[in-house]
Amino acid sequence: MLPLIKREIVEKKKVLTVEEFIEGLSVAQSLPGAIAINTACFVGRRARGITGTLVSVLGASLPSFLIILFVASFFLQYRHLEVVQNFFRGATPAIVALIIGAVIDIGKSALDDRGDLIIAFILFFLVFFLELHPLWIVLIGGALGVIRRK
């Protein structure tokens, strides 16, 4: 997705230089929210101020919005059918496999820091056994980061 954005914004429309794009991208990745939306906010802002931000966000979200509306309007009518249910019974293990792959990839990058892994386990159990809202572990983790000075 990012090469796509880069080609449109830096190479074709020349709204940003490569350096500006990289800086914006790094901020877009560290702020919460979808990276594509954050990048759109940033690029729009640079090009046309607040109006630019709003127009870019609209452009970046509209395709998914319309596709899901279309899909949902059919899906919610037919989801009870056995064919549909069995398709998703098969698809779910694949989703789980993809997500486990993602955990392993990210976990590997943290392997150099055992503290990170221990904290990750504790946070995992906090959500599972104390049924904490996951937003609390975002705050707890962030706070620990501020304290840990590492």
């Binding site: 702020l31 906010c41 899906f75 998703f88 293990p93 496999a97 486990i100 955990v103 946070l123 983790g141």
Partner: protein
């Protein structure tokens, strides 16, 4: 009031979803399945699969779908806007001090602290979906096969998601 609930739920998701769409899943699940019961466990699983199969950010897909299911097109509009609002506010806020923001020691430490959080969140997503959706040995085996092909051999995940669904049709009956 349902519109306000949709708005606040997805505003929370937007504000706290660090580290990409998969890490946002536990937040979305908490709001949509546990707190407000807008979707059943089964519907949530299906939504995650649909989000993977369609283009676009998972957060947008989930907001649009949930809003639509709960109260129609206006619901989707409210939920999706609420999800995007934190991005708009925060980018606007840091825009004039980008380098300050990035070099600020507290911001750096906070973001550094989120590394284990993202691991935990994606782990929670995997565990929770497995708990809800993997109920027999066929599903376990299917998951392992997909894992080997996608993770070890780097085959296209969407293709395997579709094939896995077809395998479901064949095994459980069409």
């Amino acid at each position: 009031m349902i519109y306000l609930q949709l708005f606040l739920a997805f505003l929370r998701v937007g504000f706290f979803s660090f580290g990409g769409g998969m890490a946002a899943l536990p937040l979305i699940e908490k709001e949509v399945v546990d707190t407000y019961q807008w979707l059943s466990n089964g519907e949530f699983l299906e939504l995650v699969a649909l989000s993977e199969l369609t283009p676009g950010p998972i957060g947008i897909n989930c907001a649009t779908f949930t809003g639509f299911k709960v109260i129609g097109i206006w619901g989707s509009l409210v939920a999706t806007s609420a999800f995007c609002l934190p991005s708009i506010l925060l980018v606007t806020l840091v825009f004039h001090s980008l380098s300050h923001f990035e070099e600020n020691i507290w911001v750096q430490r906070f973001l550094r602290g989120l590394r284990p959080v993202v691991i935990a969140l994606i782990g929670i997503a995997a565990y929770s979906l497995a708990q809800k959706g993997i109920k027999d040995w066929f599903a376990v085996g299917l998951g392992m096969i997909v894992f080997i092909f996608v993770y070890r051999k780097k085959t296209n995940p969407i293709l395997f998601l579709l094939l896995s669904g077809v395998a479901g049709l064949i095994w459980y009956g069409a």
